[in-house]
């Protein structure tokens, strides 16, 4: 059984022929299993955005996905969120196949998606009251206020989204997602519309909150440094159509890294160069000519070794 087997057979064969998919290791919190997404294209044919995509995720892991525009990152995230159904394959979350949106997986939308007729408190409270139906209003307010305070917006509870800056809106989006205490956080380029300064502070906050609470996160980004700062694992997607997971790169940087000192960390340069190399050239070549022994079901996990630049940086820092 290999990656060239027609998908239909794989699907039909599972789980009997792949007992490991149904007996996941307990730390395998989320598992993307052979999903595909196809759109009808003119001429009665179909374009395949990606197919036979496999990706495991552990509990408490921060995973960033990087890839060129149009390779299908948002599609993957929407499938994880349950907002879209895959054309083939399944995603198993917490031992169950994802069949639709769930309060267990909170989404932070790229365009913040706040309800403009509700105040900051109203937006967050809406999520809280959806999570704990029939809870007393005081309790809902209390939880919402706490989430708003967590993202540093205490005092702006009664403002409407139109009165907030872009960064503040995105914070409300984060507060709304955190307030429902999800098992998993899904973020689609949450900071791409923000200026560098605001983006930096929000990255700090997201990292602080996620490490404090051990949140499992799947995040899409275009920003290489953002992924190095935030992610435990960086998933590299090749160009579309028929995008593949080229590699899963483990982040060698220490857990207690700080954003401003990132470039002084050992391992920073080798990781950064690897990611940029990928985006510049290998994202294209790896799709058409996958390396020897490449198996879509088990994308290669890459651990990087230090370069001289890193070693030099480490001694300076």
């Amino acid at each position: 059984m290999n990656a060239l087997t027609p998908l239909a057979e794989i699907r039909a064969a599972r789980p009997a022929e792949f007992p490991e998919t149904s007996r996941m290791p307990s730390d395998k919190f989320l598992s993307i299993e052979g999903i595909a997404r196809r759109y009808p294209s003119p001429g009665g044919k179909q374009t395949t955005v990606f197919e036979n995509l496999w990706l495991p995720m552990r509990k408490g892991e921060f995973v960033c996905m990087i890839g060129h525009s149009g390779c299908g990152k948002t599609t993957v995230l929407n499938i994880l969120a349950g907002l879209e159904a895959p054309s083939e394959g399944v995603v198993i979350a917490d031992g169950k196949a994802i069949e639709g949106p769930s309060l267990d997986r909170a989404v932070i939308f790229q365009g913040h998606a706040l309800l403009p007729w509700r105040t900051v408190l109203g937006n967050v409270a809406y999520a809280v009251s959806s999570r704990w139906r029939g809870a007393a209003k005081a309790e809902i307010d209390e939880r919402a206020r706490r989430a708003i305070a967590t993202v540093g917006l205490a005092g702006s509870e009664n403002k409407r989204p139109a009165e907030l800056s872009g960064g503040m809106k995105q914070r409300v989006g984060i507060a709304r997602a955190l307030a429902i205490e999800p098992k998993m956080l899904l973020m689609d380029e949450p900071f791409s519309a923000l200026d560098a300064l605001t983006r930096g502070t929000l990255q700090d906050e997201v990292r602080r909150i996620c490490t404090e609470t051990g949140q499992t996160v799947f995040m899409i980004t275009h920003d290489v440094d953002e992924s190095i700062y935030l992610a435990d694992k960086i998933v590299l997607m090749t160009n579309g159509p028929q995008a593949k997971v080229a590699e899963i790169v483990e982040n060698p940087l220490p857990k207690d890294r700080s954003r401003t000192e990132l470039h002084r960390q050992p391992g920073y340069y080798v990781l950064r160069n690897h990611l940029i190399d990928f985006l510049v050239s290998r994202s294209k070549t790896l799709r058409d000519a996958p390396p020897e022994g490449y198996d879509q079901r088990r994308p290669p996990v890459v651990r990087l070794t230090l370069t001289e630049a890193d070693a030099a940086a480490a001694t300076v820092g």
Binding site: P101, L115, P161
Partner: protein, 280 residues
């Protein structure tokens, strides 16, 4: 402050236009044409217009004094053909309120259904397209025949003419609800009913209110014509009756009053629309 001075200048120009208009009106109707010498009996038959050179058209002073007369006692009731203008206008407003209110109760839920269901939207579209362009007054004979009550028929005509703009706008507003807001509701596992009230309705409210504003304008246009047809009471009947009495002052007074009420109704809905519209 340029905008301030613009407002000020606009007010001054408005007032100037009014003064010019009143002056022109006054001059146009006051006795400038020469009178002919005639037999006094004939002159009595011809009335003031022929004998004194005064136009049959009332001047602004006449109208002002008539308005003052109406204002002093708007709500008198001396039998079916002599009711105060206030009572008449209340009859009209009452009819509009009833017909329009019924239309709101039908159009908003139905529009919601159409907007949420592509099937219903496609299925009902031919009927809406067919019925929308029909002049509301064309329904009158049918209404009179089936309802057999002139007052109710007028209300029905108001209902029919208010229905379409609200129905179409509601359906459009609902179907145009931003996908990301719906996705927020979906990821929060919000049920369909709660989603309708907490996401779709507020999102569509400005568009619905636009439809309601168009409808109230049409309803107020139509009620005057409808009342002219059905008679009995109402400002439309009043206008027609005063025309038959050749009381042009009363007709002009009514025109002003109809305009004023229409403006107030429109402003009420414009304010309501501002209340439900939130910038992003």
């Amino acid at each position: 402050m340029p905008s301030h001075s613009l407002n000020l200048r606009a007010i001054i120009v408005s007032l100037a236009i009014m003064v010019l208009f009143l002056l022109a009106w006054h001059i146009a109707v006051s006795g400038l044409t020469k009178t002919q010498a005639m037999d006094p009996e004939y002159a009595a038959l011809m009335g003031a217009s022929a004998t004194t050179g005064k136009s049959a058209m009332p001047g602004p002073v006449d109208v002002a004094s008539t308005i003052w007369g109406h204002l002093k006692d708007p709500f008198y009731d001396r039998g079916p053909n002599d009711k105060g203008i206030g009572i008449q206008i209340l009859y009209s407003i009452g009819r509009v309120a009833l017909g329009y209110g019924l239309a709101v109760m039908v159009a908003v839920p139905l529009g919601f259904l159409i907007g949420m269901s592509p099937l219903m939207s496609k299925a009902l579209d031919p009927y809406i397209q067919l019925l929308k362009p029909v002049s509301p007054l064309a329904w009158m004979p049918l209404a009179l025949f089936t309802i057999k009550d002139s007052g109710l028929s007028a209300i029905f005509v108001i209902f029919i003419c208010s229905l379409w703009p609200m129905l179409i706008n509601t359906a459009f507003g609902v179907s145009a609800t931003r996908k990301e807001w719906l996705n927020v509701a979906r990821t929060l596992e919000v049920g369909p009913l709660r989603r309708a009230f907490t996401v779709i309705l507020p999102a569509a409210a400005p568009t619905i209110l636009t439809g309601m504003r168009i409808s109230i304008g049409i309803a107020w246009l139509v009620i005057v014509a409808a009342e002219m047809l059905v008679g009995g009471t109402g400002i439309g009947y009043f206008v027609w009756n005063e025309w038959n009495n050749l009381s042009i002052t009363n007709v002009i007074t009514s025109i002003l009053l109809i305009g004023l009420v229409g403006m107030v109704l429109d402003q009420i809905l414009a304010r309501a629309q501002r209340l439900v519209t939130f910038p992003e």
